[in-house]
């Protein structure tokens, strides 16, 4: 990427070159790219672990690894995917790259802090990896670290906890930066309701990052204290309360799932209007549903604990609110569909991914409703059903949202174009593999196949095998998609400034954008999605 074609005008990629200029970059776009490369690396590592787990489960009994390895593997897979990949994910990559441009600013409010949080992130990520290979054996308590197990087991839990803590800190700083940026740096004339919807979703996300993360931070520290100093806040042997740990953990981790999905929702909200050449349908409802998700999302954490022995009152309270929080998601889905309706729809890869997002997110969301109802959750709690639910919604939602964003902003970021046919074929593999991989898990879950199971009853053989085959197809798709993107960073056709005829600010500047985005800060006089002369060649 430090090697642009010689004729290219100066832009953020080539105005300075050399490793050092990247490592000390305070430019939001460069930091976004740093995150992109780090996150992709970790994603691939954890995805390979997922594939290995599936291969292990292709048949009952020991196939390729021991139970201890399997347990460490799903823990590491979960920890990397959640804390290192999807929570920072879209916000850190595309939030960084696009947010300032989309609101007409030259950078985020605190560029140095931005770089700092990247390094905090990397420290946390490395700590997480180190916990695997350090002396002693790999942490094996799942990504949820439930006490008392995590307080007693003799593995590198402390390192893993510190990693999660550090990563949380990075997440807080990013959130803080974005909130201030949005409050203070909007271009003149860009009122709150003239702001595009991706920044809006980042705004809602940032508040969750800011206010929920510290709770889990202190909780994880308490587990560390419990392990090192033997003061039992949560371990009943020392007088602690294991269910209290679950409360504290989910007070953070439920809102965190909205940290994952809200930016993805924001991305597809940008994509639908552009590829339909039509204003977004229901701007205000989408804004308010983002805020509602962020707010109500704080009050439903207990739905992860229906079977933990909570009071009956809180079981129905949490169940009820869980259903309420589904409504804003419903509103969004309907608004997206209506945005396309009547438009001039161009099925390019970004839109393909965005539409898959709707489909997979809907399935994930509806199965969320099954989990939200107390009676049915009793049956499927901690079974493969839950695993399928969150893979559908995280991988199918946030993951496909990320791929959509990648294909959407790729020409802007690199000034080059990937191969569209290639992208479509890879999508086909991804989408097919995905459904084969996870759909059988819904059925097995209802039948009672518990999660975090190294081994299983022969009755589940069929479903497990189909699922493994799906994983392999998905694997091919992923390789295909990534190689397309990587290959064309340098070799793709030069992309125009506005290949999709988008109307938000990032499309009004050259690709790749110049170092400080705008020569003159634009003055905004109207809403973000006005298509005066739709380009429908």
């Amino acid at each position: 990427m430090n090697n642009p074609s010689p004729t290219a005008p100066l832009n953020y990629l080539n105005h300075k070159t050399g490793l050092w200029s990247w490592m000390t970059a305070t430019d939001h776009k460069r930091i976004g790219l740093l995150y992109l490369y780090s996150i992709t690396t970790f994603f691939l590592a954890a995805a390979v672990l997922g594939l290995l787990m599936k291969i292990e489960k292709v048949a009952p009994g020991e196939t390729i690894m021991t139970a201890q390895t399997y347990n460490a593997m799903f823990s590491l897979h979960g920890i990397i995917m959640i804390f290192i990949v999807v929570i920072p994910g879209l916000a850190a990559v595309f939030g960084n790259i696009c947010l300032p441009i989309m609101i007409g600013a030259k950078d985020v409010a605190f560029p140095k802090l931005n770089l700092f949080s990247y390094y905090v992130y990397i420290t946390g990520a490395i700590l997480g990896l180190y916990s695997q290979f350090a002396n002693g054996h790999s942490p094996d308590a799942g990504w949820t670290f439930y006490v008392p197990y995590s307080a007693e087991v003799n593995s590198n839990i402390i390192l893993a906890l510190m990693a999660a803590f550090t990563l949380g800190f990075a997440s807080i700083l990013t959130g803080l930066n974005f909130i201030v940026t949005i409050h203070r740096m909007r271009a003149p004339g860009m009122t709150w309701f003239r702001m595009p919807l991706f920044p809006w979703s980042l705004y809602a996300t940032a508040w969750i990052q800011l206010l929920a993360t510290p709770v889990v931070g202190i909780t994880l520290l308490m587990v560390v204290a419990e392990r090192t100093l033997h003061v039992g806040f949560f371990d009943p042997k020392l007088g602690g309360d294991p269910v209290l740990y679950q409360h504290l953990f989910w007070i953070y981790s439920h809102p965190a799932v909205y940290v994952m999905i809200l930016p993805a929702m924001g991305v597809v909200t940008e994509i639908f209007p552009t590829f339909s050449q039509k204003p977004v349908f229901g701007y205000l409802p989408i804004v308010f549903s983002s805020l509602a998700i962020a707010l109500v999302g704080y009050f439903v954490w207990g739905h992860h604990m229906y079977t933990s022995g909570m009071s009956i009152e809180s079981r129905w309270f949490f169940s009820f609110l869980t259903f309420i929080v589904a409504i804003p998601s419903a509103i969004k889905v309907f608004n997206w569909l209506s945005t396309m309706y009547g438009g001039s729809v161009d099925l390019k890869p970004p839109l393909l991914y965005a539409i898959s997002f709707i489909f997979l997110f809907t399935i994930g969301g509806f199965t969320g409703l099954i989990l939200g109802a107390v009676a049915t959750d009793v049956q499927v709690h901690n079974t493969d059903f839950v695993v399928a639910h969150f893979h559908y919604i995280i991988f199918g939602g946030m993951g496909f949202g990320f791929f959509a964003a990648m294909h959407y902003w790729y020409p802007k970021i690199y000034g080059r174009m990937y191969n569209i046919r290639w992208a479509n074929i890879a999508w086909g593999f991804l989408f097919t593999g995905f459904n084969f991989l996870y759909f059988p898990m819904f059925i097995m879950g209802i039948q009672g196949m518990p999660r975090r199971y190294y081994d299983y009853d022969p009755q589940f053989q069929m479903g497990q095998t189909i699922s493994t085959i799906g994983a392999v197809i998905l694997f091919i798709g992923l390789i295909g998609m990534i190689s397309n993107l990587v290959y064309h960073v340098r070799r793709g056709a030069i992309a125009p400034a506005n290949p999709w005829h988008g109307v938000t600010l990032e499309w009004q500047i050259p690709s790749p954008p110049p170092h400080e985005n705008f020569d003159d800060i634009p003055v905004i006089t109207r809403g973000p999605y006005v298509f005066d002369n739709p380009h429908t060649k």
Partner: protein, 206 residues
């Protein structure tokens, strides 16, 4: 327009922006302690009696003294802002210095308080502590964690204010640009705020 833009890329961050950043950071801190307060309240509901016994072991006098110390230091910090705004850097330095002195007093008090506990072999992980009733283990666990985390904030605040003081001295912070002082003071007030809750909750339980 270009003038405002210029200022954003200059050495000084627009003060409104910087202040908002600080406030957001304080929110995070509030939720960090918030997690501990949740644990505290649940455990207190569970082990009310033991918490009472635990609290009797604490030295309410030191606690009260430290409350006063922090309140006064909070005022001097607030006044230092007034001073810098009125363009009286000398006064500001003196006020920050007294804040730091008071922080020192706070820490010395804590030293004696913790020291006393250590003399009794009452510290996390000690044999004595492990043999207490479960509720008291919990109480002292929370006591050490909460006050310890608070103490850590006092130290950080102290370092921050020292930097501020040096910058006032060198003139980098002046009646035009005093964002860092304002933020330092805000942070210090937060340290005070948290103590306002810690004091009655830990030292004065009946």
């Amino acid at each position: 327009m270009s003038t405002t833009e210029h200022s954003e890329h200059s050495e000084y961050i627009d003060s409104e922006t910087g202040k908002m950043g600080m406030w957001l950071f304080l929110f995070t801190e509030i939720f960090l302690f918030g997690g501990l307060f949740i644990v505290y309240s649940v455990m207190r509901a569970k082990y009310g009696e033991d918490f009472h016994h635990g609290a009797l072991e604490l030295n309410a006098f030191i606690g009260a003294t430290n409350t006063v110390v922090l309140l006064v230091s909070s005022m001097t910090a607030a006044m230092s802002l007034t001073a810098i705004q009125k363009n009286q850097p000398k006064v500001a330095i003196a006020l920050i210095f007294s804040t730091l002195l008071l922080a020192g007093v706070f820490m010395i008090n804590k030293y004696f308080e913790y020291g006393h506990k250590f003399d009794l072999h009452l510290y996390p992980g000690s044999e004595v502590m492990r043999n207490l009733p479960k509720g008291e283990i919990m109480f002292f666990g929370l006591y050490f964690l909460m006050t310890g985390l608070h103490l850590f904030h006092v130290v950080v605040g102290g370092v921050l204010l020292t930097i501020v003081m040096l910058r006032v001295k060198s003139g980098k912070i002046n009646s035009e640009h005093f964002l860092l002082l304002e933020n330092g003071a805000l942070y210090w007030h937060l340290v005070d705020l948290i103590w306002i809750f810690l004091f009655p909750l830990l030292y004065l339980i009946t």
